[in-house]
Amino acid sequence: MTGTDQSTSEDLLSPLHEEHVALGAALTSFAGWQMPLRYTSDIAEHQAVRTAAGLFDLSHMGELEVAGPQAAAALDAALVGNLTALAVGRARYTMICAPDGGVMDDLVVYRIEDELFLVVANASNVEVVRDALTARIEPYDAWLVDASLGTALIAVQGPQAEEIVASVTAPEDVDAVRGLKYYAWVPGTVAGVHARVARTGYTGEDGFELFVPAEQAAGVWRTVLAAGADRGLVPAGLSARDSLRLEAGMPLYGNELDRTTTPHDAGLGRVVRLDKTDADGRPVDFVGRSALEARAQSQPARVLVGLQGLGRRAARHGYAVLASSEAGAPQVGTVTSGAPSPTLGHPVAMAYVTPEVSAPGTELAVDVRGRAEPVRVVELPFYRRPR
């Protein structure tokens, strides 16, 4: 046995930290925060989200508000997506790229008002995104406020999420909350607290994310947890969150996405809106545009694929993908994420491979600590929820 998780005293504490301690969570250091890794069992928490519901603390995520008369135009220039076209009340998955087209972070952007956007960034990238956005919107009549530390983010995910959230929502807001479309949000009173209620998530299930003031977060957490207990709601940690998103084929920054990766490499070229135009109908020259335009035209050097493990030993982040199980087989790619899938019962992984071996059905292998384990290329996602 080697290594156990350690938390450092410099870590930021979530506004829900005391709740996690009271629930007996195993804490882990993640992106400068001390966050719950698991409360009881990774697999039980994972299965609860697939079959009932899980409650997640995502307060480590960054919340950046971009406001001003030219907020939409400023974000169109700063990000790869078309935010001018985003309606108030809706959300969009997008990215912020470097001039060379490399991904600096993947983001969810909510349009709160005509002149107010909420940009949600990964905890590990909040400073990078804040600094880049601040610089990029500077020519515009728009400004940025970092609301990360004052905002708690609580996610309720799973097939029971709507019933649970509705049960703690003020009567006058229930219809709007129940009627929310995927990637939309409404203001509402939840557990007695004024919240931004979004139908978004990172688990492959239906679910909600509640943005609430940090100082009121503990009350919301306790109320939702108590209200959902009868429906099978359990608190769920980062370990379950990672296995859930992997089954759902969702990228994790630092694994599938990084500065050396373009959105197209990750199969997410659709988020790059080369067709977006400014108020005068001219193409918007957003940061990364020329590099990504070239990338959109060229053949990819590598493709993100799903790998189904045919043995029992799971491929993990960083392992080499080989052309076959035979000795001396050449490397054809690298695993970005991998784990035994609790839902499917076999190992799954995502990997960048050369285009020639990227077709579903292709048999490859992964060097799992010195031994080649057979894998098969499969379509992503590994898991799609029944509708």
Partner: protein, 123 residues
């Protein structure tokens, strides 16, 4: 934190060893807890020889994978097939039904008392 059986020996790599003929090897509750839900065990074949301090197997959870180091040198005379079939036994009963190997010991590597192991893992 669960209580450490004082009758066992421990290693800095979080294995435990129970003296006997043969001796029994497992991983500590602390190690099992750090790994999370264990889903796969790879153990050496019965009859194979193991060396103190050398890697003899793997313990895999959803979240991570760890190597199993043998605390002793000798010959493996039994592996816990029940734990291979249901690795959650290692989480639920790490000092009991979740044992891993029985070894005919020829020599032992550096071992710790329960008190020494507790001090080590607290630090």
């Amino acid at each position: 934190m669960s209580e450490l059986p004082t009758t066992l020996h421990y290693t800095a790599e979080h294995e435990w060893l129970e003296d006997g003929a043969p001796s029994t090897v497992g991983i500590t509750a602390q190690a099992a807890e750090a790994l999370g839900d264990i889903v796969y065990l790879e153990l050496p074949a019965v009859g194979s020889s193991v060396e103190a301090g050398a890697v003899v197997g793997e313990i895999e959870s959803t979240k991570s994978v760890s190597e199993l180091f043998s605390p002793v040198s000798g010959t493996v005379v039994e592996v816990n097939q029940a734990a291979v079939d249901d690795p959650s036994l290692v989480n639920s009963e790490p000092y009991g039904a979740g044992w891993l190997l029985k070894v005919d010991v020829t020599s032992t590597g550096p071992l710790l008392t329960a008190e020494e192991y507790a001090a080590l893992s607290a630090g």
